[in-house]
């Protein structure tokens, strides 16, 4: 009984915290971008402009919920929910702290990869159902991009799996007690980070929505809260990837004991979120063919080499 209640509490807690973080990220990103562009960003509504989030929410809820008459109506409505649901499901395996995890599965890592790939459907369906050439181009790019980067995203994590001997995220974190995996698996970290950026199609890999070429890409036709879902999905995705980087390579909740583990986890996560924003603030968007050749010609071979070398070392040392 109390177990059920406990899990329910964690589930609700994770949901609430994650959604709040996603919402606050809107404010956080705007403030950070402004900071790096020598501006202030939203600073008028509430303390530090924090209520800007509320204002934006109110606005987005009250916007006309328009469905393009030429769109495939049901798919069009359904598409934005996929990304939010998929990313939220991904959080199920995130170990926030010892004991604070929704489901410590023994295949947690695979589960995370599976969930993050599901997001591709959202882009694909949203773009195709819009029945608009820009949306279609955006979704084609999105699908190709996600599928390509999916491959070595998984491969890059195999080094971590080899080192920790487990697919369970809790075990992976615990395996980093002595040394964060970022040191032995630095190449794996870099590849995973790049793949994560591509997976969440954040700048500089935001080609599916490249506004200078495709209006707004796959969500050109979306407005109101449906657009808001894509938006929230994107920020949830950033948070998830950041949390995963922290978990796989930076020891998750581990840290000196003057702060509780959950705080360490969030500090690390936020550091990567900030890095994501810094990327957006500083890097231009590559061409689509550059993106693809980077993935297939450099990152994939690199990740395979990384996997082989890691496995070989592991064999040599641990036998």
């Amino acid at each position: 009984m109390s177990d059920t209640l406990y899990y329910l509490l964690i589930i609700v807690g994770v949901l609430v915290v994650m959604l709040t973080i996603a919402a606050l990220l809107i404010w956080y990103e705007r403030r950070m971008l402004a900071l790096w562009q020598d501006r202030y960003g939203p600073n008028r509504v509430g303390p530090f402009g924090l209520m800007q989030v509320m204002a934006d929410m109110v606005k987005i809820f009250f916007k006309e919920d328009w469905i393009a008459p030429f769109a495939d109506k049901w798919v069009f409505i359904f598409a934005p929910t996929i990304i939010v649901v998929a990313v939220l499901l991904g959080f199920a395996v995130v170990p926030f702290a010892p004991g604070i995890v929704v489901a410590d599965m023994n295949i947690g890592l695979l589960y995370f990869l599976a969930m993050s790939s599901l997001g591709a459907y959202s882009i694909l369906l949203g773009g195709i159902s819009s029945n608009n050439k820009y949306s279609l181009l955006g979704s084609l790019r999105g699908a190709a991009q996600v599928i390509s980067y999916e491959v070595f995203m998984g491969i890059s994590l195999m080094g971590v799996v080899i080192l920790s001997d487990s697919f369970s995220l809790v075990k992976i974190v615990e395996a980093q007690k002595n040394m964060w995996f970022v040191i032995p698996q630095f190449i794996g970290f870099v590849i995973f980070f790049i793949a994560g950026v591509a997976e969440t199609h954040r700048a500089p890999f935001d080609l599916p929505e490249a506004e200078s070429e495709l209006v707004a890409g796959f969500h050109s036709e979306y407005s109101g809260m449906k657009f808001g879902m894509f938006f929230v999905g994107e920020y949830l995705g950033i948070t998830l990837i950041s949390a995963m980087i922290a978990t796989f390579f930076f020891g998750g909740w581990l840290g000196p004991s003057f702060l509780p583990p959950v705080v360490w986890f969030f500090i690390k996560t936020f550091a990567f979120i900030t890095l994501f924003i810094l990327l957006r603030a500083s890097l231009p968007r590559p061409r689509y063919d550059q993106l693809m050749s980077l993935g297939w010609k450099i990152l994939l071979p690199l990740s395979l080499v990384n996997l082989l070398v890691t496995a070989a070392i592991k064999l040599a040392i641990g036998g």
């Binding site: 020598d38 501006r39 202030y40 890097l283």
Partner: protein, 171 residues
């Protein structure tokens, strides 16, 4: 690769830069005299209306937001019977000021034109006419034009000879 990291670092350094944003309305921006803001009609150094209702501002206006009607007083001086600018259409391009041959229409560094009712953005001559010469202090169109108006007859403008006596038969 290195350049990517370098640009990340340079961007990050902006964390410590001073911010350019001016916190309007608590702080006000210092605007140059040639700022293109609210349009005014000015007067010549003698205090008379500068506008001679030549319609060039209206013709130059790309959004057609200026309309006027020429009239003439008993001394022959031209002035606008009405002069209307629809600021809700104005794009503050300043073409009217460029077109004006008498320096009558001028743009000022006042951009705070906000109304709840769009109708209030329609300015008539009494809203536009100011009591001074604006940016150009000395110019008086009728002093250089060969047109006789009250207080200035034929041949009394700058660089003009007195009117010819056509009955004079001297070669």
């Amino acid at each position: 690769m290195f350049s990517i990291l370098r640009s990340l670092w340079l961007t990050f350094l902006h964390t410590f830069h001073k911010r350019f944003t001016i916190q309007y309305p608590e702080e006000k921006a210092k605007l140059p005299a040639r700022w293109r803001g609210r349009i005014v009609l000015t007067r010549d150094p003698d205090g008379a209306e500068r506008c001679v209702a030549c319609y060039l501002c209206a013709a130059a206006c790309p959004v057609d937001c200026i309309s006027l009607q020429a009239a003439e007083d008993e001394t022959g001086r031209r002035y606008p019977e009405f002069f209307r600018i629809n600021f809700s259409r104005c794009i503050f391009c300043g073409f009217c000021e460029d077109a004006c041959p008498t320096y009558a229409i001028q743009l000022t560094p006042d951009f705070e034109l906000v109304e709840y009712d769009r109708q209030n953005l329609v300015y008539e001559k009494e809203n536009l006419l100011i009591s001074g010469p604006g940016k150009y202090h000395d110019y008086n169109f009728y002093r250089v034009a060969g047109y006789a108006v009250g207080g200035k007859g034929k041949g009394e403008a700058e660089r003009e000879d007195p009117p010819i006596d056509i009955h004079d038969l001297k070669p």
